[in-house]
Amino acid sequence: MGKGSLTAFLVFFLMLQANAQIGAMKLVGNNTKDYSMGFGAFIKTGVPVSDAADITMELSANIFPLKGYGMDYGTIMCPLVAGYRYTLNGTGQGLYIEPQIGYSLVGITSLPNDGNDIDLKYHGVVLAGGTGYLFTIGSAPFDLNLRYETVIAHGGSNNFISLGISRFISFGKRDTNY
């Protein structure tokens, strides 16, 4: 997938090195049956703004290989999104819902085409909505989440569903920092 892919893989690798977490995801929509299950790494952080809610930031690198071609072809996207995470019980723990909005820093789709590979590069607006569960193990906060995300560019959209778990990095503490 060329230099762009190399960059995306580098981002993916660096995120893993930075203790980012991984998720499984599936592209949905028209002409997505040729894609395998995708995978991604993401770093998520946030600042409490109330007992129940955080403003979150998330950077992810998502890779969707094209079936039958290993990692030679497929789609890579690196969205940076901000979200408002609201816990339903108002404690900052437990079940939550979270709308997100952001921008896809990297978007690449590589397709085989009669020996002349097609490499498409794009950026676009990202919208996402999800739910999840916040819990702690010891003193480490974790975030198990399921979300639907869409990247919009050039009059089209790449839509996917992802399931992930991350060790949440929080700046600030509840009851003191809002």
Binding site: T32, Y69, T109, G129, V151, S157
Partner: protein, 180 residues
């Protein structure tokens, strides 16, 4: 809060109404010519055989690995590490449907197994192919069969082994290109 969440959910749903992926939109769906991977797999006496060919529409001229060619009838041919498998659809116009042939019309070579050619030869032997789809010049379907090994191939007649001792089952083929 509910109001804002409703707005967010509605925006997300509406944004997904774009019918095309970004790639399709940038190129135009009709201009994308994604290559096709053809596959064929089956079990022969319990041994799995699998063939997969990337970019099946552009296989090496003179030595294609998996294809169907109109030549008299339509000859489906695949080459694996087990050897070749050959099946002729005896028709002038291949369509979706079942094509089952017995030994009624004489011995019919199908494949090789354990170093011996396998034929539809004895009563009860057969090859049963079903074409479930034929679209855009590619066929998909499934097959099974019962064969008899030729233990001593010769001319004019082979010497055959145990009747019906070779079973082909769980056969399937997908996106096999049809060449004219």
């Amino acid at each position: 809060m509910k109001f804002y969440l409703t707005i967010a959910a509605t925006t997300l749903v509406l944004s997904s109404c774009y019918k095309q992926s970004i790639a399709d939109s940038m190129l135009g769906v009709t201009s994308i010519k994604q290559t096709t991977t053809a596959t064929l797999s089956y079990e022969i006496n319990g041994n799995p055989v699998s063939i997969s060919v990337k970019d099946a529409d552009h296989q090496l001229a003179g030595s294609p690995t998996l294809y169907c060619e109109k030549s008299g009838g339509y000859i489906l041919s695949g080459i694996s590490s087990f050897g070749e498998i050959v099946f002729t659809f005896h028709t002038d116009s291949l369509i979706v449907g079942n094509y089952k042939y017995t030994s009624y019309y004489g011995p019919m070579y199908v494949t090789s197994f354990e170093g011996k050619p396998q034929y539809v030869y004895n009563p009860g032997d057969n090859m049963n192919f079903t074409v479930t789809s034929y679209t855009d010049g590619h066929i998909s379907g499934n097959f099974s069969g019962q064969l008899t090994p030729a233990i001593s191939p010769g001319y004019p007649d082979n010497i055959y082994g145990t009747p019906g001792s070779v079973i082909i089952k769980n056969g399937s083929f997908n996106n096999v290109p049809v060449f004219y």
